[in-house]
C-alpha cells in the first residue's frame, strides 16, 4: 500500500518536471518548431496534473484538444516562421530579455508571496456529487446549459472566421 503511494508521488514529481521543462524549452527555443514541441510536452504534464486532481475526463480532453488540436493548429502557423538560415542572419531572441525577466519575476514573486501567506482556504461544508463524467454531463446539460451553448457558438464563429481570414493561401489575395 505504502509503496504505491510513493510511486504515485514520484509520478507526480515527474509530471511537474515535464510541465516546467516543456515550458522552459518553449520560451528559450530559437526555432518555433522547438517551441511548439515544448508546448506539447508542457501541456502533457498539465494533463497528468489534472489526473492527480481527480478528473480523468479532463486529462483525456487536455490531451485530445490541447496536445492534439491546438498544437497542430500552431504548427500550421509555424510554416511562416523563420528558417534556420534566416535565423542565423538576424538575432531573434534576447532583445527584450531584461524587460521579460523583470515582468515574469515580478509577477511570480507577487503571486508566490500571496500564495504562501494566505493559505487558509476553507473547504466547503458539504460536497454534492462526484468527479464522474456522468455528473459533469448532467451539470453541463441542465444547470450550466448556457456555458455549453456558448462554447458551441464560439467554436462555430471561430471556425467560420478563421476560414474567411485565411482564405487564399500564403500569397493569395486578401478578402
Amino acid at each position: 500500500m505504502i509503496v504505491f503511494e510513493y510511486i504515485a508521488e514520484a509520478l507526480f514529481y515527474a509530471f511537474v518536471a515535464l510541465t516546467f521543462a516543456g515550458g522552459f524549452m518553449a520560451i528559450r527555443a530559437k526555432l518555433l518548431m522547438h517551441a511548439v514541441l515544448g508546448l506539447m510536452v508542457s501541456l502533457f504534464g498539465v494533463a497528468g496534473l489534472y489526473f492527480y486532481l481527480g478528473s480523468p475526463f479532463l486529462t483525456m480532453m487536455q490531451i485530445l484538444i490541447y496536445v492534439g488540436a491546438v498544437c497542430i493548429i500552431i504548427v500550421l502557423g509555424v510554416m511562416i516562421g523563420n528558417t534556420p538560415d534566416q535565423l542565423a542572419a538576424k538575432k531573434l531572441v534576447g532583445k527584450n530579455l531584461p524587460l521579460a525577466m523583470l515582468a515574469s519575476t515580478t509577477g511570480f514573486i507577487a503571486l508566490f508571496v500571496a500564495t504562501i501567506n494566505r493559505t487558509e482556504f476553507t473547504p466547503a461544508a458539504e460536497r454534492v456529487g462526484d468527479m464522474s463524467i456522468r455528473f459533469v454531463g448532467e451539470n453541463l446539460l441542465y444547470q450550466y446549459c448556457l456555458a455549453f451553448e456558448l462554447i458551441s457558438v464560439i467554436l462555430l464563429t471561430a471556425i467560420i472566421g478563421s476560414i474567411i481570414l485565411a482564405r487564399g493561401g500564403r500569397e493569395g489575395k486578401t478578402p
Partner: protein
C-alpha cells in the same frame, strides 16, 4: 503529508506557468511565439480552477466545466490567431511584431 494532495502545490505550479507565459510573451520576437506563450497563461488559469474545484468547491463539476470552457476558448483563440497571423504575413511579409506594429502598408 503528500505534496500531491495539497492545494498550495497546484497554486504554485500555476504561478510558475503564468511566469513562463509572461516571460515568453515579452521576450519572443514572433507572433506565433507570443501565441504559444498565451497558451501557458491559459493553462495556469485552468489549473487554478481545477485545484480549487478539487479541494474547496461544493460542487465538483463546476471546475471541470470551467476548465473545459477555457480549453474551448483556447482552441478558438488559436485558430483565429493563426489565421490572423497568416493574413498579416500576407500583407507585410513578416511576423515580427515590431515591423507590423505601425499597421501601415
Amino acid at each position: 503529508m503528500m505534496i500531491s494532495a495539497n492545494l498550495n502545490t497546484y497554486l504554485i505550479i500555476a504561478v510558475v506557468l503564468l511566469a513562463i507565459g509572461l516571460y515568453g510573451m515579452v521576450q519572443h520576437r514572433s507572433l506565433i511565439g507570443m501565441l504559444i506563450s498565451s497558451e501557458f497563461i491559459l493553462n495556469g488559469a485552468a489549473l487554478n480552477f481545477m485545484a480549487f474545484n478539487r479541494f474547496t468547491a461544493p460542487n465538483p463539476a463546476v471546475g471541470q466545466i470551467y476548465a473545459l470552457f477555457i480549453m474551448a476558448i483556447a482552441a478558438a483563440e488559436a485558430a483565429i490567431a493563426v489565421s490572423i497571423i497568416i493574413a498579416v504575413y500576407r500583407k507585410y511579409q513578416s511576423e515580427d511584431p515590431e515591423e507590423v506594429q505601425d499597421m501601415k502598408m
